[in-house]
């Protein structure tokens, strides 16, 4: 069965600092990868996704993620965070039909950006 691990449960940083959130998945076949964000009091929203092609994907709000197949990783990055990036971030994987086309989430990382 597919599983997703997010290494950091909580991250606190100051505005303008760089952010990198780790995500590893366990599935040997083809996967589709996602990062979702949940701002306080709001619903989950898609930040970016990887299906195929360029392993460096760019999403909304200046976020990007790099798929490294050999490391089973899909880390999220932002060069310079803002206070408004305070949210919870979830990595998710869909291993397709072989895994029942289910979207499996990691445990989430709470990010607090101090002004």
């Amino acid at each position: 069965a597919q599983s997703v691990s997010q290494h950091n449960h909580h991250v606190i940083l100051s505005e303008a600092a760089s952010l990198e959130l780790g995500c590893n998945y366990s599935y040997g076949g083809t996967v589709n990868l996602f990062w979702y964000v949940q701002y306080p009091g709001q619903h989950l929203q898609l930040l970016l996704k990887y299906f195929s092609g360029d392993p460096l994907v760019k999403g909304i709000k200046g976020f990007e993620a790099e798929f490294i197949k050999s490391k089973f990783s899909f880390n999220l990055r932002k060069p310079s965070v803002q206070w408004s990036d305070t949210a919870e971030y979830f990595c998710a994987v869909n291993a397709g039909k072989a895994a029942g086309n289910k979207l499996t989430f990691g445990g989430g990382t709470r990010v607090l950006v101090k002004p």
């Binding site: 069965a1 449960h9 589709n32 996602f34 979702y36 709001q42 619903h43 989950l44 929203q45 898609l46 996704k49 299906f51 979830f90 869909n94 397709g96 039909k97 029942g100 086309n101 289910k102 979207l103 499996t104 989430f105 990691g106 445990g107 989430g108 709470r110």
Partner: protein
């Protein structure tokens, strides 16, 4: 903006009551999902559906049941609520294979 709606947003109910959490989407998506999320914890898939009259149990065992009589509607029912059912329930939908899911606002359920 995704068109997926959950009602109620918040529900406080007594032990033993029967409850139904509503989820509707107007996007014509074939796949729908229910996730359970405890505060500060990961999302666990508890039910999913690939289309009308198709429902499956998810990765996390749940005493709830679901139905999918219409494409746009995927309600979740608890026949007898218990305090252990206190959680947030998130509904989502997607179309086709391997696409992203769109989420509703969630229902925060408290059983007292």
């Amino acid at each position: 903006e995704a068109d997926i709606y959950q009602t109620p947003r918040y529900l406080v109910i007594g032990t033993g009551k029967k409850i139904t959490l509503e989820c509707s989407q107007t996007m014509g998506h074939d796949k729908m999902y229910w996730y359970q999320q405890d505060p500060g914890m990961e999302l666990h898939l508890i039910h999913y559906s690939y289309g009308v009259n198709s429902t499956e149990k998810g990765d996390l065992s749940s005493e709830s049941t679901v139905s999918r009589i219409r494409t746009e509607h995927f309600p979740l029912t608890l026949e007898s609520a218990r305090p252990s059912h206190t959680s947030q329930y998130l509904c989502a939908s997607s179309v086709g294979a391997n696409t992203e899911a769109f989420f509703g606002q969630g229902t925060r359920l408290t059983v007292v």
